[in-house]
């Protein structure tokens, strides 16, 4: 047992990989359907996966800021943003009216029991991942400060080969 654990500990760096594939987890769409994250594609263009909640002020600032830039980002790079709401039963009913009330154009999915949040090891929101055209996680960022969207977009352009 000792040897096994030691061997495992020593072998871990070989596998360890700050980036990786998107895990396959089931989330809910706004119309109550279940979809697997393995079905997320964007025709070879990058995808931004943003974890947020209706009770998280910096999350809403980040998504509102990107909303003003989103049209340009899409035109220039073809990027798609999937906003993963971690609102639980208490507040998940507010997600659709809130998103529409803001006029956001994002794809929004619900993760009410934190399954995807846990699978991606997210501690707190906002937390953003960037997937390249092949679905590999190539970049991540926790927190939001005004201006962070510039760094995100630099990464999006790189991932899109622009």
């Amino acid at each position: 047992m000792k040897h096994l654990i030691t061997a495992l500990a020593l072998a871990l760096p070989l596998f360890l990989n700050a980036q990786g594939k998107m895990p396959a987890v089931t989330v809910q769409t706004m119309d109550g359907k279940k979809v697997s994250t393995s079905s997320w594609t964007n025709g070879g263009k990058p995808i931004i996966v943003n974890f947020w909640a209706t009770w998280c002020a910096p999350c809403k600032r980040e998504l509102a800021t990107i909303a003003d830039l989103y049209e340009d980002w899409q035109k220039e790079t073809g990027v798609k943003l999937i906003a993963v709401s971690i609102d639980d039963t208490r507040t998940m009913n507010r997600v659709a009216p809130y998103v529409n009330g803001q006029g956001w154009e994002y794809d929004v999915v619900l993760d009410p029991n934190g399954d995807l949040k846990r699978a991606l090891n997210v501690n707190n929101v906002p937390h953003t991942f960037l997937l390249d055209g092949k679905g590999n996680i190539v970049w991540q960022h926790n927190n939001y400060e005004p201006g962070d969207e510039n760094d995100l977009y630099e990464q999006v352009k790189k991932a899109a080969g622009k």
Partner: protein
């Protein structure tokens, strides 16, 4: 000795991972987007996260801050997940040496050990988990196991879960296990066994050809049903208690391009327990929610009623945070500003409550008189909660049924109401401003269980501003004012936060309990001299990639800390606190 040996051994891979995780990120924190070295589908991957909150406490008699014998507290968690193809395994280590004051909300935690471990295998339509897991049926009125780490709520199941999708649009779930209770050098489970099954049918996915118009117009109907049962041995010498307590629930969800209608009903057989004074009365719950939304407008309305719906996997537990099988959240809005979020947040009364809420989000378009150059956003929200109309049984010495109810009829006593309106407007390229008004009614005696405490009537005004000095540097400020003639009286809070994207922030906040209208006020039935107290606190933080480091120094007011639908009381404290979170 053996115990210590294995404990240390267990920690080796964990420590190794932490070190590697850190150094890996140190090399390429937020720089180049290099393609990952392994892209094959079946190569193993190890990921995880780490988070810790530590505080060094100082004595502060003015605010009643206490210091534990150890002078400091620390909570820490480390998750490691191993994935290879369809196989996943995970383990979480936890440390409470000792836990932070007031943590957790339920059964005490202490020591270091394993808090969660599981193995999972999935092939397309079948998904099997052994060990710990989190799961939810419908909106949780029948069953929800979940964690809110920062609250200290974790009722993870420990057992087996099978999910199966026999055909498109049909989802089956089955769970059996015990729930996490406390933590003493490792998690321990409660006494009761929880068994549950859930079936869900998504009509247009199951029969797309039968509803072509629905598919085309984006309509769908999802129907679901759950059954959950708890087994707990009856060791009571006097009473005959039901050892198997069942709860069933049914739900329906209709959606189309603009509407979303949801309803769920649950019925529980008689379940004498510590929270209902061991009455042999069945419980029931009903929730309904409707939303309408279109670009620029969102409306929601909801209502629920709960009667005798506490359902825990130990009927004798005295604490409503322990071993909950179901989840009954409040309809009240979860505020993000400090004063309304932590002074008087509402919590559901699961043994008897009728509550309603309504909310409107509206965006005045750019170029309209009210919208101006950038548009204006408006949010109006109202929620109220009342007692359930119930009458005590006149002669209840034989049946112990407790009371009779007129279900979904509200009673005489108002527990809570919150009316709030927020206007948010971008004034220019560099300025944004938001103004909020709240009117609150809050029955402390009911919500916080403090006998004789008054009903609070409070008004709050909040102004928030955001200014960008450059594309990377900005300041955000808040001024919050609360006026009330009850409880602790009036408060004013000021906050300023400077951010330097992408790495740094510094912030300072002061909460000042400045005065009441009278020279003294009533607290717990006694006249208390007004104490004018400042609660200053400073914070700074550093963020890089998936890592965050924050530090706070100052006074923290006793308050209620809520995440999601659950709240816990946090005692007043003074000192230095440090938090680190990392995702790798």
């Amino acid at each position: 000795m053996i115990g210590t040996g294995t404990g240390a051994l267990r920690l080796i891979p964990f420590m190794a991972l932490l070190l590697i995780g850190r150094s890996g990120l140190a090399q390429a924190p937020d720089s180049t987007a290099t393609p990952p070295p392994h892209t094959g589908p079946d190569l193993p991957q190890v990921h995880g996260n780490f988070s810790t909150d530590a505080q060094y406490y100082r004595v502060d008699s003015v605010i009643g801050a206490e210091v534990p014998d150890e002078k400091m507290g620390i909570n820490a968690w480390g998750n490691i997940q191993y994935t290879q193809g369809r196989f996943t395994a995970g383990i979480r280590f936890e440390t409470y040496e000792p836990p932070l004051l007031g943590y957790p909300a339920g059964e005490p935690y202490s020591g270091t050990g394993i808090g969660y471990r599981y193995a999972r295998y999935s092939i397309d339509d079948l998904d099997i988990t052994v060990g710990n897991f989190f799961e939810q049926f419908g909106q949780g009125m029948a069953f929800r196991s979940f964690e809110e780490r920062y609250l200290g709520v974790d009722n993870a199941m420990d057992g087996v879960r099978v999910k199966f999708q026999p055909t498109e649009g049909i989802y089956l779930k089955g769970v059996v296990g015990r729930q996490r209770f406390g933590f003493d050098d490792g998690f321990n489970n409660g006494v009761g066994i929880v068994r549950g099954a859930d079936v869900e049918l998504s009509l247009t996915e199951f029969l797309p050809t039968a509803f072509p118009a629905w598919v085309e117009k984006g309509r769908n109907l999802v129907l679901g049903g759950s059954f959950v049962s708890r087994y707990q041995e009856d060791k009571d010498p006097l009473r005959e208690l039901p050892e198997n307590v069942g709860l069933w629930a049914a739900r329906a969800n209709y959606t189309n391009a603009h509407w979303n209608l949801y309803t769920e009903y649950a019925y529980k057989i008689n379940d004498p327990n510590a929270s209902n004074d061991f009455i042999y009365k069945p419980g029931q719950g009903l929730l309904m929610n409707a939303t309408y939304s279109t670009k620029g407008l969102g409306i929601s309305a909801g209502a629920h009623a709960f009667d005798n719906m506490v359902f825990q996997s130990d009927r004798a537990t005295q604490n409503l945070f322990n071993l909950n099988i179901n989840f009954l959240p409040t309809l009240a809005k979860q505020h993000t500003y400090n004063l309304p979020a932590t002074l008087y947040p509402y919590a559901t009364q699961p043994n008897g409550e009728v509550s309603y809420q309504g909310e409107v989000f509206y965006k005045f378009k750019k170029g309209t008189p009210l919208g101006g150059k950038y548009g204006t956003k408006l949010a109006v929200n109202y929620c109220t909660a009342w007692s359930l109309d119930s009458t005590a049984m006149p002669d209840d010495t034989l049946q112990f049924k407790g009371y009779t109810t007129a279900f979904f009829q509200r009673g005489e006593r108002q527990y809570f109401s919150d009316f709030n309106i927020e206007v948010r407007k971008k004034l220019s390229k560099t300025w944004e401003i938001a103004a909020t008004y709240l009117n609150l009614v809050y029955d402390i005696e009911v919500v916080q269980g403090k006998a004789g405490a008054p009903v609070v009537f409070a008004d709050m005004f909040i102004v928030e501003g955001l200014h960008n000095f450059t594309s990377r540097n900005s300041v955000r400020f808040e001024v919050q004012h609360l006026r009330t003639n009850q409880d602790k009286g009036n408060w004013v809070t000021g906050l300023a936060e400077f951010t330097f994207s992408p790495h740094w922030f510094v912030a300072a906040m002061d909460q000042f309990n400045y005065e009441t209208l009278d020279e003294s006020f009533s607290q717990n039935g006694e006249e208390v001299e007004v104490k004018r107290t400042h609660y200053p606190i400073g914070s700074m933080g550093y963020i890089r990639g998936g890592n965050r480091f924050t530090m706070n120094y100052g006074r923290q007011r006793a308050g209620i800390f809520c995440v999601g639908g659950v709240c816990r009381q946090v005692p007043a404290s003074n000192g230095l606190s440090i938090s680190i979170t990392s995702t790798f």
